[in-house]
Amino acid sequence: MNLEGRGLTIGYADLVVGTGLDVTLASGEVLALLGPNGGGKTTLLKTLIGLLPPLAGVVHLDGTSLAALSLRERARLLAYVPQVHVATFAFPVATVVLMGRTAHAGLFSPPSAKDRAIAAGALARFGIAALADRPYSRISGGERQLVLLARALAQEPRFVVLDEPTASLDFGNQGRVLGEIRALAQMGHGVLFTTHDPNHALRVADRVYLLREGSCLAAGPTADVLTRERLQDLYRAPIAQLIDSATGAVAFSPG
């Protein structure tokens, strides 16, 4: 299954953010979206999941136009993991994850036993079953990110789209979330995430998409695209390349 944007012009009624963008995300692969602040990453991400209509071009899901699907139909295919936030009301974690089942239930119907089982399974999958009864407002940022991932999994989507899933997490939790992104792809989901850290793309992405000032600078397999020269070009800043002498693994460092 493919999520595909063709000839996209993205932005808002009074502001064009990007033009001429082609993006494809296939089932079972991880695509990382990289680029400077204000380059259009979040706008492109919201356009690809139908939260923003494209100003030109189309987004297709296996040949069906996204615009032809209802919000409910879309939510059964695409899950969106927003940046971690604090909820206004202190819902228990289990209820937050159960909200992922919304698109599978009727407008007036309460969550079924099956919905509750799937939500509990998603919590267990990320090792946070013990948090089920805790208020979402009183757990740590890393735990909240995992809860939002569990909610996306409970949605039983084909594609998972994450907006800066590692931002504001400590080093350990960054690694944990990256591991789960890889795991989602191994389960057959197509995963798209935005990040400010090229090393996170190196770690888990099959392909990367570099977005600068609203146009595509480069796209392709991670190892081919992420070179020191291209990153310096992308961010217009000096970047050092580090190589692990034991494994040959590459990492980048700003400055």
């Binding site: 059964r76 969106y80 927003p82 819902f91 698109a103 969550p111």
Partner: protein, 338 residues
């Protein structure tokens, strides 16, 4: 803190309602024994002749009974509307009064009184007024983009509320100063003194319909209290649903305003107390708020009847409770939500 079972909180709400019922029926200028009240109510329900004196029967069935039912309905309506508005606008500080629903409905109802309409027609005009006011507040809030949209919403509510208040002033100025004006003035301050059995059905129907609508949508209300884009990504048609929820909450507010005038603060205070009892899940929050709201207003109304030689307007008593509560809330929200 862990998730609590629903029943202890619900039991507290039911106990408040039971206490309110007992006090409202027994306390007053003519104190009644609880046994006599039970006797009259049981006799009415089973169709036999009551053993209590006729004057007791008349007080229970004609005087206090309708007023007790009206107080429960109005209290429940304001609490349910406040709960829905707080969820919908993702803000624990909003209430039907703050969003202009009350003043809009009041202007509609005052116009209805001025035009000498019947009870159902006054309900209808009040509903239209409430809907126009909330829509205007929401439109202003949506048009002005700032970093703090909720602050804009609350301020827009204050401004639109003041505009509708000026409209009420115009109608009062034009009203007949010997008959209509005193009626409007006392009614606006909030009172259940005029409750009678014939007016209960026009009060009950819109409140039951609007509340049933909100309770049916309780699971969606949970999702609607998330940020808009998140709710849409979860498959909820937020725009259509918001209109339905605002209409339902405004309907119950307008019905209560048309029956009992502006009784402020109930829609702000009671949802908070209910949330403290059973947590934020609307599936349990809405019924708890309705029961607690009914009990709360019964207690306030009993106080209004008995605290002074003349009746104290309800709006004055609820403001005495609500204002310090709001200030306390504002202070604690600053601590925990910012």
């Amino acid at each position: 803190m862990t998730k609590r079972a629903a029943w202890p909180g619900l039991a507290v709400a039911v106990a408040v309602l039971a206490l309110g019922l007992v006090l409202a029926l027994t306390v007053g200028r003519y104190p009644l024994a609880l046994g006599d009240v039970f006797d009259v109510v049981l006799a009415k329900l089973t169709g036999r002749a009551p053993q209590a004196p006729a004057v007791v029967e008349s007080i229970v069935l004609q005087v206090r009974g309708p007023r007790v039912v009206a107080a429960m309905l109005v209290g429940a309506a304001l609490a349910v509307a406040g709960t829905a508005f707080q969820g919908l606008f993702r803000n624990p500080l909003v209430s039907p009064d703050i969003l202009g629903a009350s003043s809009g409905a009041a202007l509609g109802a005052v116009l209805g009184i001025y035009a000498a309409l019947d009870v159902f027609a006054i309900q209808l005009v009040a509903f239209a007024g409430g809907l126009i006011a909330v829509t205007a507040v929401y439109a202003v809030g949506a048009a002005i983009r700032t970093r703090d949209p909720v602050l804009v919403l609350v301020l827009a509510g204050v401004v639109i509320g003041a505009l509708f208040g000026a409209g009420i002033g115009v109608v009062k100025y034009l009203a007949d100063p010997y008959n209509q004006l005193p009626a409007m003035t006392f009614w606006l301050l909030g009172s259940l003194a005029a409750s009678n059995a014939a007016d209960l059905l026009p009060l009950f129907l819109p409140i039951a319909f609007g509340t049933a609508m909100l309770v049916a949508l309780r699971w969606r209300l949970n999702v609607m209290s998330l940020p808009e884009e998140e709710a849409r990504a979860l498959g909820v048609p937020t725009r259509a649903l918001r209109i339905v929820i605002v209409a339902a909450a405004t309907l119950v507010t307008a019905a209560s305003v048309a029956a009992a005038g502006i009784i402020g603060w109930v829609g702000l205070v009671v949802p908070h107390l209910a949330r403290a009892l059973v947590g934020p899940d609307f599936a349990r929050l809405l019924p708890t708020a309705a029961i607690l709201g009914g009990g709360y207003l019964l207690l306030i109304d009993t106080l209004a009847r008995t605290v002074a030689p003349v009746e104290v307007p309800l709006g004055i008593l609820t403001a005495l409770v609500g204002t310090p509560f709001f200030i306390w809330l504002l202070a604690s929200v600053q601590r925990s939500w910012s």
